[in-house]
């Protein structure tokens, strides 16, 4: 059988990749180890969060699925950092772990361009360094013009609990045992990474009166720019806050040697995420801290699990019991599933182009945890970009590369392919140097046009964007023309610019009627004008360096005077531009100057 695109893996990256390719009209095959686990959320029950929520909106702006499915299945919605500036606001939904995957599966199944097969891919079929298909574990071969690997944590997955190591994927699924070896044979550098998940508790065994309730926001939000809210404000499921106790810490310290991470497993372990430490790590590293926050979060309307955020551990089951029972409100709690750590293989993302195509095998793309990231949103956005770019490639078109001042997605992919990863990569707002430009509120204004151009956004939705842009400009014009008498006579524009005033105070003075979001957008543009301009200026500087392309055939051994570390790093990454070179850690500005001087000479010689 032959397809245009084959997606290997049905997690959040795989789903977006399959939809992107199929929506662009390409016959797509999704190969997954387990159809009913497609779009499963094996760890936390959120979609979104700081920076991640903005990514979900970016996915939606480009024509991806995550936001739409989350909007229809969420249990609770919050706008994080609402009290801070507009640049750092970000949506987070408590997602329903049953409803979300179910809806995603239905959408996949009913798509005319998508077929799904339940099996594992064992090997890649390659001719002349170009992928032509995949081989399944049952021996079947499927041909394809492009293949996207989204293997998640499944390559050589090991579950770690106490001193036990079990060969298994998350939640008892089949791991992929051979693929990473075969990738290594092809020349990929393989990394060993690790992540963990906390225990799940039976809801009716928790005494919530001893905890603090954390309700959702009392204002409606949606991830998608096309959706109306599907939830009811007063029917949102709350979360609860509790804390570790002195007893918890004592149990952990007394049993530390039983934790997989603290010596119970002797061989060297994969590298875990710095941003999501286990409770053992937190207690050991912050000894003077009397207590740590834990959030008790519902996982679904359809079952009884409560997720204990902040309590991931690789202690054996009996110690986990004691630890859980030491928490206020959980004295009699019943553990439904124990916490575990999982180790898996990933590739070094520096083996990728910014299109997510591998440098080693043409038409092979990778996305998600295989690239060393962590998180559903990080995975989904890479899946989307890999799906778009694999499609563009087989259409003979240039790839869509998002810049760092254009999208968090651009920041994430550039970081991956430029800096590589040491531990599982999580998006943080601090990774974005132009985050005032990368706001939650303007994701559509930033990216919809790209979505339209690549064919994932239809004409109707595109026209809506154009109308919105026009209206925002009209609002600003009107504000400049109209005046108000406050402490002195001033234009409405000046009035709105003042931090203490709101555009909604003077909304009725405008000649035309405008949408809430349009007014809000105009207000942000006016209020933060100075800073937005500053960010754009900075971004322009970056683009100048970005436009200085490094010749593909450059031999770094020929460039005199490079510091040796820089030479090694440049050879590893092979950056496409001076801008990218500068972002490689270990490459200093002076190395970039040398490179720039060498390039001038190189081009002169070739002129």
């Amino acid at each position: 059988m032959a397809y245009e695109v084959i997606v290997v893996g049905g997690g959040h990256a795989g789903c977006e990749a399959a939809f992107a390719s199929a929506n662009k009209g390409h016959k797509t095959l999704l190969v997954t180890g387990s159809i009913d686990k497609i779009a499963m959320m094996p760890c936390n029950p959120h979609i979104g969060g700081s920076a991640k929520g903005i990514v979900v909106r970016e996915i939606d702006a480009l024509g991806g699925m995550m936001g739409k499915v989350a909007d229809k299945t969420l249990l609770q919605m919050k706008m994080l950092n609402f009290s801070k500036g507009p640049a750092v606001r970000s949506l987070r939904a408590q997602a329903d772990k049953v409803a979300y995957p179910k809806l995603m599966q239905e959408e996949l199944k009913k798509h005319e361009n998508i077929d799904i097969i339940e099996d594992l891919v064992e090997d890649l079929i390659i001719e002349d360094n170009k992928i032509t298909g995949v081989k399944l574990s049952n021996g079947d071969i499927y041909d394809a013009k492009a293949v996207i690997l989204t293997t998640g944590t499944y390559m050589k997955a090991n579950i770690l609990v106490g001193s036990e190591r079990t060969v298994s994927g998350p939640a008892g699924t089949r791991p992929s045992l051979f693929l990473s070896d075969n990738l290594e044979k092809l020349g990929f550098k393989i990394l060993r990474l690790k992540t963990g998940t906390p225990p799940r508790i039976q809801r009716d065994t928790i005494d919530f009166s001893k905890t603090k309730m954390e309700p959702g926001d009392d204002k409606y939000y949606t991830f998608s720019f096309d959706d109306k809210p599907y939830y009811k404000l007063d029917e949102q499921e709350p979360c609860y806050l509790t804390y570790t106790t002195a007893e918890t810490h004592k149990i952990i310290m007394d049993n530390l040697d039983k934790s997989s991470m603290y010596g119970a497993i002797e061989e060297k372990l994969g590298v875990g995420p710095r941003y999501c430490p286990s409770i053992e790590d937190k207690v050991v590293r912050f000894k003077d801290k009397e207590r740590h926050q834990l959030f008790l979060e519902p996982e679904s309307k359809y079952f009884d699990d409560i997720y204990v955020q902040g309590f991931s551990t690789s202690m054996p089951h009996d110690v986990q019991e004691k630890m859980v029972h030491s928490l206020p409100g959980l004295e009699n709690a019943k553990i439904l599933r124990y916490a575990y750590a999982i180790e898996y293989d990933a590739i070094d993302p520096r083996d990728l182009y910014p299109s997510l195509e591998t440098k080693i095998i043409e038409n092979l793309y990778t996305a998600g945890q295989i690239n060393g990231t962590s998180g559903y949103e990080e995975a989904a956005c890479q899946g989307l970009m890999a799906g778009i770019n694999a499609s563009l490639k087989i259409e003979g078109k240039e790839p869509l590369i998002l810049a760092r001042d254009e999208a968090y997605i651009g920041v994430l992919i550039d970081d991956l392919v430029t800096k590589g990863v040491r531990d599982p990569y999580r998006l943080l707002t601090s990774r974005a140097e132009y985050r005032l430009l990368l706001r939650s509120d303007n994701a559509d204004l930033r990216l919809r046009r790209h979505g339209y151009e690549v064919g994932l956004i239809d004409k109707k939705r595109y026209n809506k964007l154009v109308k919105k842009e026009e209206n925002i400009n009209k609002i600003i014009e009107e504000l400049q023309e109209l005046t108000i008498k406050a402490d002195k006579k001033m234009s409405l524009y000046e009035y709105v610019k003042r931090v203490e005033n709101s555009i909604f105070d003077i909304e009725d003075k405008l000649t035309n009627k405008y949408d809430y979001l349009e007014l809000e957008q105009a207000e942000i543009i006016i209020k933060y004008d100075g800073y937005i301009k500053k960010a754009r200026k900075e971004a322009e500087k970056m683009h100048k360096l970005e436009n200085k392309k490094i010749p593909e055939n450059i031999n770094y051994d020929d460039v005199p005077n490079l510091a040796s570390e820089a030479r090694i790093k440049l050879k590893e990454v092979r950056p496409l531009s001076l801008g990218q070179a500068l972002r490689i850690s270990g490459v200093n500005p002076s190395d970039v100057s040398i490179l720039s001087v060498y390039m001038k000479r190189y081009f002169n010689d070739n002129r």
Partner: protein
């Protein structure tokens, strides 16, 4: 391969010894071709006796220092030929090197290579340039401080604090629900902003002093005819024989000579005006005199002890009253006919005898005692100073935005920009043009 460059590294002109420096992969082999000794087998960091030869003709008897990469100024092989001073023999050696494959160094190219090869940071590179220009002991000390990274340390101290603030703000954004983490408050931002303002303004003021040390004090000796201006000038000159040369640059138009007093350089403005015996103000016109006065950092106003105060004296006192000035009452060996009541602290001298008291006064005025003993930590060139000024102005913007209620995560943009501006002083951020411009300003050689 990096080509090999050479240049005369000492000042061109008469001197006992001149140094010709060669740097690059072929430095040793090229010099070897014009030397009667085999230099290729000499150990690194040795100085060797020999002759520079052109065929059979001996050009000069020299000492040759061999320093092999990487422990050299440019991190390349360096050969320095210490030859006899004088233009002709030095030039001949340079010519021989050029004929044997070396290329004449561009201005500042040795330092540029040192910078590009990671030997020194940008600030250090600038200090090297300052060192070459250093005309007095204080200026040399100032240049040395830059090289040792004292300024870098100071900047790092400020920048580190800013990084702390910003990382805290970032954590607050990324983990908004974690109460374990200290929340950055407006008050803390205000504190930091004040801290930056104080530190940078102090640095700026000290740098102004640093500039004086490096560039000298523009001094105008003023007085009506026959009060003894030239004797005072001559006396100052006699104290220091190695003086009164033309100096280059923007001050060329107004400065006519330099005198070293204690550890500080006086740039004497308008020596012609001093030596003329006619009325300065009348002769050159009021406007020009006012301009001269404006250009001066220091006015030495000379009065005659042997005559009463004239209208002309009064006029000079009036037009210099807002300037930093020293009033010198000269000719105290003659009868006192001058009434000095109402005048500020005057210095009484007899220029024909000695004027130590005047020199002490100048030293006091510029805290030279203090400057001589103190650890000098100044920015001493205009690029650095303008960056500090820029950082101060961004900081002012930060305060304004803060006062108008802009949220912390946006204020952070200003803090980051201050960081980047300060980083630019120590060369830790990248700007293509900056580097080109910087090295074009360097003098030839090193």
């Amino acid at each position: 391969m990096n080509d090999t460059i050479c240049a005369i590294s000492t000042a061109v002109g008469v001197g006992a010894i001149s140094i010709v420096r060669v740097s690059g992969d072929e430095a040793i082999s090229i010099v070897n071709k014009i030397c009667d000794k085999d230099l290729t087998k000499k150990a690194s960091h040795t100085i060797n006796y020999g002759h520079i030869v052109d065929g059979n003709e001996v050009i000069d008897e020299v000492m040759i220092s061999i320093m092999k990469a990487p422990k050299t100024f440019t991190r390349e092989d360096i050969v320095e030929i210490n030859c006899h001073g004088g233009i002709s023999s030095t030039n001949k050696i340079l010519e021989l090197l050029l004929n044997n494959g070396a290329r004449l160094a561009e201005p500042g190219e040795f330092t540029k290579r040192a910078f590009l090869n990671g030997r020194i940071d940008l600030l250090e590179a600038e200090s090297v340039m300052d060192m070459i220009d250093a005309k007095t002991e204080n200026a040399r000390k100032l240049a040395m401080n830059g090289i040792e990274g004292k300024i870098s340390n100071l900047i790092h101290e400020i920048v580190d604090r800013l990084y702390d603030i910003n990382s805290n703000i970032e954590v607050n954004i990324d983990y908004p629900e974690y109460e374990d983490i200290e929340v950055m408050t407006e008050g803390q931002i205000q504190d930091v902003s004040k801290f930056i303002d104080e530190k940078l303004k102090k640095l700026l003021i000290e740098s102004e002093n640093g500039k004086i040390i490096k560039e000298g004090i523009n001094t105008l000796i003023l007085g009506r005819p026959n009060v003894g201006k030239s004797s005072i000038l001559n006396k100052l000159i006699n104290e220091d024989k190695a003086i009164v040369t033309d100096i280059a640059g923007t001050t060329r138009d107004i400065v006519e000579g330099q005198i070293r007093v204690g550890g500080v350089l006086l740039n004497i403005i308008d020596t012609a005006g001093i030596r003329e015996t006619e009325d300065v103000v009348e002769k050159i016109g009021v406007e020009k005199s006012l301009n001269l006065i404006k250009d001066a950092n220091l006015i030495i106003l000379v009065l005659n002890n042997n005559e009463p105060l004239t209208d002309e004296d009064k006029k000079l006192l009036e037009i210099t009253k807002d300037k930093k000035r020293i009033i010198v009452v000269n000719k105290i060996d003659l009868d006192t006919k001058l009434d000095t009541t109402g005048l500020e602290d005057v210095v009484k001298v007899s220029a024909t005898k000695d004027i130590d008291i005047l020199k002490d006064k100048i030293s006091d005025l510029y805290n030279l005692e203090e400057l001589n003993n103190k650890e000098l930590t100044y920015l001493s060139n205009s690029r650095q100073i303008s960056l500090v000024k820029k950082a101060i102005s961004i900081n002012n913007h930060l305060m304004e935005s803060f006062n108008s209620g802009i949220p912390i995560d946006i204020l952070e943009i200003d803090i980051k920009e201050i960081c980047e501006t300060l980083n630019e002083i120590i060369g830790e951020s990248y700007d293509d043009k900056l580097i080109d411009r910087l090295f074009a300003n360097f003098c030839l050689g090193k």
